[in-house]
Amino acid sequence: MNVIAFYIAAVIAIVATVLVITLKNAVHALLYLAVSLIAVAVIFYDLGAPFIAGLEVIVYAGSIIVLFIFVVMMLNLGKRATASEAALLKPAMWIGPVALAAILIGEMAYLLEHGAMGVPAASVVTPRAVGIALYGPYVIGVELSSMLLMAALVGAYHLGWHKQPKLEIQDVSREYGTGTDAGRDSIRTGSGRPAGAA
């Protein structure tokens, strides 16, 4: 295993993650998240799991992050959102969580110190082996995750679909003088309504 590659990728991942959780602009944060995920994919490849590395990039960084970005852009939060985020992120608020996380990391370090640990083997686990394992002993997991995905699909559809409370939105559209069905989706075409304000 290539140690240097591992450490570089690790550092990039950590830095990118820190940036993710501290940035105020959602899109920026998402892009950094993508960077972090790709770094982790590199680590996967380094560990001898090329299939997973590919999956990580394609599925995780490729579709999930993209989905995030879609939604964020759909919400169209605007500058006011970023400003209000700043107000919410006071330094004082970091203390508690950081403390907890520090303890957690400490515990982990302790465990790793005293647990059995060795240098990972240098062999590569081929996709073929993964496939055999997946459809062999783990086939029930496959079934379950397919059901899970189905449920998620239905759930997301249901939650995303919303019935128009006709009176309200009509009033809004009449008020603001837009002739189109402005309430159909949640894209506010620059109507100036505050977004993200608490």
Binding site: I43, F68, M74, L75, P97, I132, L153, G196
Partner: protein, 92 residues
């Protein structure tokens, strides 16, 4: 170790941020970190199991993101903001 650090960072992000999107992002970070831990473990003993677990985690993360983002949309529609603290109607 790396997985642990990443996970801890995810926890911090979860607790600190109030914007629901960021919270979901933090959850993703945490899931990813867990998956990394799994794969490392699998690679340690040169078995496919770790990767299999990661695939499941991936599937789960995907579905969770789908539903979570739908909820984000709902929240925005109701409250016109994504502040997580504003949805405290189940208090008491």
């Amino acid at each position: 170790m790396l997985a642990g650090i990443l996970f801890a960072l995810g926890v911090v992000g979860l607790l600190v941020r109030r914007n629901l999107v960021f919270v979901l992002m933090s959850i993703e970070i945490m899931l990813n970190a867990a998956g990394l831990a799994f794969v490392s473990a699998g690679a340690r003993w040169a078995q496919a199991d770790g990767q299999v677990m990661f695939i499941f985690i991936l599937a789960m993360a995907a579905s969770e993101v789908a539903v979570g983002l739908a909820l984000v949309l709902q929240l925005y529609r109701e409250k016109q903001s994504l502040d997580l603290d504003s949805v405290d109607e189940m208090k008491g």
